[in-house]
Symmetry: D2
Subunit: 297 residues, 4 copies
């Protein structure tokens, strides 16, 4: 379930045409779903009108592939409003992360998910990403959310170190075995799979690589999973540096985005990165046409 960047034109206006192209490309890979308006989808830089237009474009392009929409908002009621909008526009699920309050309070985080779960017309994926939310959800809290809120259909675990937390949450959920995915640009992808991750829910610009890793892990072919991870890890590391500019530049080179623009105040591509990226991609994928799905992984 790749997380998609939100494309903008050079003037920072929403580029729904590129978004449609990106959705079609990824859906064409045969993924389980596509996620739009996540953290690295720059969702927090969008107006509600932007969000609506992006959801419309994504749903229209996705065909039968489910569309998951990030709807996290500092206000609980506003999160529900966004979930309703997403549902009414054809989203299959929403992804939700809590907001930090001055005083951390597990009860209030649980209540956030409970209310959103009750108010959302579609199932929710609970996201645990303290790097962006500053909310640290312990294993008991995550397990309680999983057990007691029926509309929570999965957990996206992005709290480092992920492997031990993944094992602990899996055990604590007990008789409600939800799907647990991991993200963080697949930085710890091999180790997450070893720890029992069900797959990736992240934005690496070559989702077909992650698909192949998951397939290898499911086949028990760890040598192949490891080889894929090792081969692409330099690119994963380079891409997951702070900001979304590198990822957008790769997607541009893949012919999916017309422009790699990041909305202000997000940072653009740092000086020197275009060259480093060219060298890096050429070393990993020599002579390969990036505009078509990678073959033979």
């Amino acid at each position: 379930m790749p997380i998609l960047a939100t494309p903008f034109h050079a003037d920072e206006s929403l580029d729904t045409e590129s978004l449609g192209r990106l959705v079609r490309f990824v859906a064409g890979l045969g993924v389980d779903g596509v996620t739009v308006l996540g953290v690295l989808g720059e969702s927090n830089r969008l107006s509600d009108a932007n969000r609506e237009a992006a959801i419309r474009a994504a749903v229209a392009a996705a065909g039968k592939t489910p569309v998951i929409v990030g709807v996290s908002h500092p206000g609980t009621q506003a999160t529900i409003d966004l979930a309703k909008m997403a549902g009414s526009l054809g989203a299959s699920a929403v992804m939700v992360a809590p907001s930090a309050e001055g005083v951390p309070n597990d009860e209030r985080v649980f209540e956030y998910f409970r209310r959103v779960g009750a108010g959302s017309p579609v199932p929710i994926v609970a996201q645990d990403h303290p790097a962006s939310t500053a909310v640290h959800m312990g294993v008991p809290l995550l397990a309680r959310i999983a057990r007691e809120i029926p509309s929570v259909m999965g957990i996206k675990l992005e709290a480092v170190p992920t492997p031990p937390k993944l094992r602990a949450v899996r055990t604590a959920m007990g008789d409600r075995p939800l799907r647990i995915t991991t993200g963080l640009g697949a930085l710890y992808g091999l180790f997450d799979l070893e720890a029992g991750s069900d797959g990736f829910n992240t934005g690496f610009a070559f989702p077909e690589v992650l698909q192949a890793m998951v397939a290898a892990a499911r086949d028990g072919d760890w040598a192949r999973a490891r080889a894929l991870y090792t081969r692409f890890l330099p690119l994963i590391v380079f891409e997951q540096q702070p900001g979304v500019a590198v990822r957008k530049e790769i997607l541009r080179r893949r012919g999916l985005l017309s422009d790699a623009t990041v909305r202000h105040p997000g940072a653009g591509l740092p000086a020197g990165y275009a060259e480093q990226l060219t060298t890096l991609i050429e070393s990993i994928l020599p002579g390969v046409d990036l505009r078509v799905p990678l073959a033979g992984l």
Copy 2:
């Protein structure tokens, strides 16, 4: 220029009737302007549709009193979109604070204000409130914003300690002497006035007290300013505790809000506070009818 709470019904829906009442009450005090959708107006818990409804209600009720609208947003373009909406609905100005990026960067904060200043149809008040933004704007940055962005008409200074920063910004602005106001619930009100503050831009539930303090300071009657501050300081301190629940409860007791509800995940009135508040108000304002403007200050 009092900052107004955003009233909600018990079910957390927007209460535009109470908002209108609140605006009329405050405008009736003869203030220089009213500010809606600030940080303690729970603006970050509102959908864009909620914001629009609140602005409409405030402008309709304000009559000739200028309405300032908080439009801060993590995205620069979205801030401009909100400023345009506010302007088109009749706001006289907007209040803007920057958002924290992973790496603090003065240039990007300046660029945020520059773009918003260029894109907003109405003047802007630049807000310096690190407690909510996590952005620390130094004196040179604030002075540069003041000097180089023509649509910035004032600064709201809320970075503790405020008195020395106020003096330093005043000096650094040089030949563009903007209005500098302070906030923080007037906690440091007397000291801010001594340091040259032009007045208050904050949400203390008895704005007439702050009006009287400013008037006394302008008259050079510091004994009176100090007496007012000392008399009401226990209430100022009690009210500025984290969250907006105490303030809303006082406004409810003043007959301005139908309900003191705070939107989730904001905290409601803590246990024991209703009683402490009753005792406190009775000790400071014995037998006074809170529903009318305080007289004889």
Copy 3:
């Protein structure tokens, strides 16, 4: 139990003579104990050798008055080492606050207190001060620390808002009714006493005022407690601004410190504060000799 500033000479070397004078003055007020090397005692800017010299000087000057020593340290074993040093030098108790780890973890915070409780030769005061520690201890965790660690003799509660937390901790401690004190420069002093605080453990430069407030509260004379609070609150507010420079300047004016120097990188007295302080003290204590304990409170 006042918390004492750590005096330095103008060259930032430790001024044990002033420290002795300060301890004798405060002990002479008949307080229950004096605390040295707290957060505002700049303890984190001291070498272990400085700490040892400061403890020696304080114990020597305190006579029969118990000396409590702040020994918080990011390492658990190092905290124990400091507690042993304090105990061997004659301290009666130690004050301990936890350090933030990357991932908040109640179990690890409890274990910190458990180990320190087991290793310290003297009783401990558990400090809850998220503003300096970035550790948010919930009511259940504090109650567990109180119930299960025998050497914990008291809690210093400084997590805003303090009144409701104080009530909740008191209830949750159940059958082990420890002494709960509050701090924060007495900013919320009246409200803390109303909520059942046992007294102050803070550094306001006029500890005799806080003594008088506690005495009034114990007598049930709330009118007197409120009058004292209201009278001195402007000074309390002015003093509790970030940094310890204002407090040290007042202590200097009281003849207790030879010099108001704050150790780098702490901030010195901001420009304009000396004058504001003179005006403020003169308005509250006109013509009073600050060098002797305030009489007639």
Copy 4:
């Protein structure tokens, strides 16, 4: 210049014997220097007496290899005290990072380095590591430190993204071309070298790999540098997860530490990691004896 872990016995007491073994092993690799008591040397969990013992042991074992000692401390004077201790015990240099104050202030950070530079008897390496210090030093500040403080002999750059910052600092330093090294467990090692890094100053448990990468880069043999990076990157990624437990476990397996104990409240090796580590090392270094320096890199 590898950064060494600080070894502890199972009871958390300092293990100077293991430290000596570790120093001899690394010095035997022919490195330019060894660094002790860095952030991942758990220096903040040590008493000053522990520090002294560790420095003595390291200097005694290092022979002619220079020993660099981390001496960062929240207090400027205490940093100088530690630098003097390190110098008197035979250290060749000290490594220094600033501490966060409530209000970020470039002038105060510069003054910190200026005073330490003036007071330290040995040269200093200025460390830029916001992940642990919460201090964000901009390029102009770093360049000013480099240009104006003669005893600053190098910069350790660990502020992500490192490659563009490294280029910018290099340019800004102008005519005082200090050595700039990078760290972060070598996560971005290839990209840092491409951007002009002079080498590594980090704690990866196979420093001979980083030596080989630097040598390859100096020879212009980027294919070899890339191959080394790609081969070991899964281990680099696994090891640089938060905490130092994984690194200590590898060093234990290399026969260098008697025990992998991390001082409380640091986290121990997470469940499942021993097995993942075994699999990972076996896949990268099949059948290799870890107890001797890796050959044929």
